[in-house]
């Protein structure tokens, strides 16, 4: 392990890959938090697919494979895609999901046409643009890392400077409008930041899966906290962690594309978060549910024991047959009786007959009283 870490930081390529993936994870994770909260998770998918024709056109026009030029082309195409999206949803009755689908598939289809044209050019080697489909972290160069780091810094600084405005807009647009925040401005700004975050990850993760870099860390982070700052930080951390693990794994193992590897790491984090995050996790839901069910079972049984005694005899400690108790109970009779016994509220007699104890009687009386009081106040 230690040896591995030493290799990681002494190996030039691996160091660039690791730093690149961490930066992309942090940027995409932070912005993804806003995309998920604003219910725009699939916007990233559409933008990412829409960048493909931009990459190809930039190459066709400039004949240059410089990352910066290709990324500028990608960003422009992504931007035009979102403009079309707004044009469609604001002017027609076509809903957002259909508009996203059209942008995503048509832009990608057009990109594909351009890609096949590019590949037939004598100047193009096939590997050049293909990495934009599924990503290849191993192709990152020092120059790419500089671009990624610079753009990420710009994105994160902008977010930090306009934190208050963005926060208000995410949670209460009406209030934001009333205190004079320009919602359209914040909307366009956030979308632009998302476009940039997507574009810097294209080379590493690819257009097909880049959206998961936005959605998954944020969806995982959401489960751990109700606080926006904590969520953004956590999301960034999840993004960085998965980006690093995925990029390193795919660089070390042959024939493993980076994008899918990162997505699998991310999804693992999401599943863990959905199941085990404190308070919100599914596991806690199940525990809470079982606990309250058990409580209902025992209190109902306690009241039933009292009810039976009052109806049949004047002796509140009269033992009753377990079958009769089961018939009007709420299931799980054996555990319920055991629970009552443990609490000292009921005792067992021979022939599986059960009766209240004095403590149990007091508890049952107070429960019944509480219940009747509840009925009266309700009426």
């Amino acid at each position: 392990m230690i040896e591995f870490i030493i290799t990681l930081f002494s190996d030039h390529t691996l160091r660039i890959v690791a730093l690149g993936a961490i930066t992309i994870g942090i940027t995409a994770g932070s912005l993804g938090a806003f995309a998920v909260l604003r219910q725009q998770s699939l916007l990233g998918d559409a933008i990412a697919h829409a960048t493909l024709p931009g990459v190809c056109l930039a190459f066709l026009i400039t004949q240059s494979k410089s990352s910066l030029i290709l990324l500028i082309g990608a960003a422009l195409a992504g931007w035009i895609g979102t403009l079309f999206l707004m044009l469609i949803t604001r002017n027609t009755r076509i809903k957002k999901d259909a508009a996203l689908g059209i942008i995503l598939s048509v832009f990608f289809g057009f990109g594909l046409v351009l890609l096949t044209i590019v590949q037939k050019l004598p100047t193009a080697t096939k590997a050049g643009l293909n990495k934009f489909l599924f990503g290849n972290a191993a192709t990152l160069l020092q120059e790419d890392l500089t671009i990624i780091a610079t753009l990420s810094a710009v994105v994160l600084m902008t977010l930090l400077l306009l934190w208050k405005e963005v926060k208000v807009c995410v949670f209460d647009e009406g209030f934001a409008k009333s205190i004079g925040i320009k919602i359209t401005f914040v909307d366009i700004l956030l979308t632009t930041l998302i476009v940039i975050a997507i574009v810097i990850g294209l080379q590493t993760v690819g257009v097909v899966l880049m959206s998961a870099m936005l959605v998954a860390p944020a969806a995982a982070a959401r489960q751990w906290t109700d606080n926006l700052s904590v969520m953004v930080l956590l999301s960034a951390a999840f993004g960085a962690l998965s980006g690093l693990s995925g990029a390193i794994t795919s660089s070390l193992v042959s024939n493993l594309p980076t994008g899918p590897t990162i997505v699998i790491f991310l999804s693992t984090l999401v599943v863990i978060s959905l199941c085990f995050a404190p308070r919100r996790g599914i596991m806690w839901d199940i525990i809470r549910y079982n606990k309250s069910r058990k409580q209902i079972q025992t209190t109902t049984m306690l009241k039933n024991l009292l009810l039976f005694s009052e109806i049949n005899t004047n002796d509140p400690f009269h033992p009753h047959d377990i079958a009769a108790l089961d018939a009007i109970g709420r299931g799980a009779i054996d555990q319920t009786m055991q629970e009552l016994k443990n609490k000292g509220w009921a005792q067992q007699f021979k022939d599986k007959r059960w009766a209240l104890t004095p403590v149990g009687l007091k508890e049952a009386r107070s429960l019944t009283e509480e219940y009747e009081k509840g009925l009266i106040t309700e009426n």
């Binding site: 002017n91 259909a98 289809g109 351009l114 037939k120 489909l133 998961a212 944020a218 024939n255």
Partner: protein, 370 residues
């Protein structure tokens, strides 16, 4: 050569129509992006089924892909039902994972076989005619045509027999449930159709372009008509035009056919978006402009009517009045007056503006309306 071209165009057209049929309902039910999710995720089903059969043309591939398609829908709905995440995030999580597992499996374990992620994403229509179906050495044409025709027949049959149920559960799920039509069942049946359609089409057009053919033609048709039956036929028509136009474009530029089909379907959608007779952007602009002018004319005539009742001299100052009180610019005011004179709402008597009987009627009408 001619027959090869014809076969490609036939296959492309059949694919476009097959995709457009379930697409209509996806659009109307606002679940268009499930097609994106399903068409990506089926890759995993194809790969897993391929591991079992070791045969790329086995019908088991279709079964596997369909099952994974349904799995995608169920997983997404499972996540939504936990209320931990919203619908869009749930969709955005499930299909990238399934797709990623598929891509990794392909890359790691099928290195020497002709199946790769590229071909699933893009498809290659141009090769379809070479993969022919033979029974007893009789050439029955490209296998792809038979597969997609079967899917098409299935879609047509389903929509024909369950038209009423589909229509009701699409437009009023609550009423459908109340009448005992099981909208949930219809939903899953439709998603199964989408999966089968996607897997039948993927070999020819690739998974992402399945999305284009499922969404773009019905979305265009949605802007052209209000009738479900018309929408289905228009979508199919747009699909066929996209298919044949796309083939032409691919032929001209020597480019990927499926990509060209998606591009043409996008171009047709943009044309409809701008020029659709009632719901296009241009038509909207004309209507908006007319409303603005109509409102201005109403305002002017009502003011003149008021002036007639109160004080006749008032009309002489009507221009400055409109400028002051209605915040109209002098140019806009004279424009409206000129327009009103042309429409014979008002007449000019010297410097005075007088309502015509027709103009008086309009003023009264707008007063009644408001």
């Amino acid at each position: 050569m001619l027959t090869t071209q014809f076969e490609i165009m036939l296959l492309a057209s059949l694919t476009a129509v097959t995709c457009a049929l379930p697409g209509v309902f996806l659009i109307l039910r606002r679940v268009a992006l499930m097609s994106d999710a399903i068409s990506h995720a089926i890759l995993l089903g194809i790969v897993l089924a391929f591991f079992i059969t070791k045969n790329l043309s086995s019908p088991l591939l279709i079964v596997g892909a369909t099952l994974v398609g349904i799995l995608t829908v169920s997983l997404t709905e499972l996540i939504i039902r936990t209320h931990k995440l919203k619908k869009d995030a749930a969709i955005g999580l499930v299909f990238p994972l399934l797709f990623s597992i598929g891509v990794v499996l392909i890359n790691k374990y099928t290195g020497d076989v002709h199946i790769d992620a590229d071909c699933v994403l893009f498809g290659e229509l141009a090769f379809a005619p070479f993969n022919r179906l033979y029974i007893n050495d009789i050439d029955l044409g490209p296998q792809g045509i038979w597969v997609i025709s079967a899917a098409l027949m299935l879609n047509i049959t389903f929509i024909f027999f369950f038209y009423k149920e589909l229509k009701l559960s699409t437009f009023d799920a609550g009423l459908a449930a109340a009448l005992g039509f099981f909208p949930g069942l219809i939903h899953y049946a439709l998603m199964t159709l989408v999966s089968i359609t996607a897997v039948s089409a993927f070999e020819s057009v690739g998974s992402i372009l399945v999305v284009a053919l499922m969404i773009a033609p019905p979305a265009g048709a949605y802007l052209l008509t209000n009738r479900l039956s018309h929408m289905i036929f228009i979508s199919a028509g747009i699909g066929i035009i996209s298919a044949i136009g796309g083939y032409g474009m691919a032929y001209a530029f020597n480019a990927n056919i499926a990509g060209s089909m998606a591009t043409i379907s996008g171009v047709i959608f943009i044309l409809i978006l701008f020029f659709a007779p009632e719901r296009g952007i241009l038509a909207n602009m004309v209507v908006r402009k007319w409303h603005k002018w109509d409102f201005a004319a109403s305002t002017l005539t009502v003011h003149l009517l008021q002036a007639e009742i109160e004080d006749a001299d008032y009309t002489e100052h009507i221009v400055s009045h409109m400028i002051r009180h209605m915040k109209w610019t002098p140019e806009y005011t004279s424009e409206v007056i000129a327009q009103c004179i042309q429409e014979e709402f008002i007449e000019k008597h010297g410097s005075k503006l007088v309502l015509t009987p027709y103009g008086r009627e309009k003023a009264n009408l707008s007063l009644v309306k408001n």
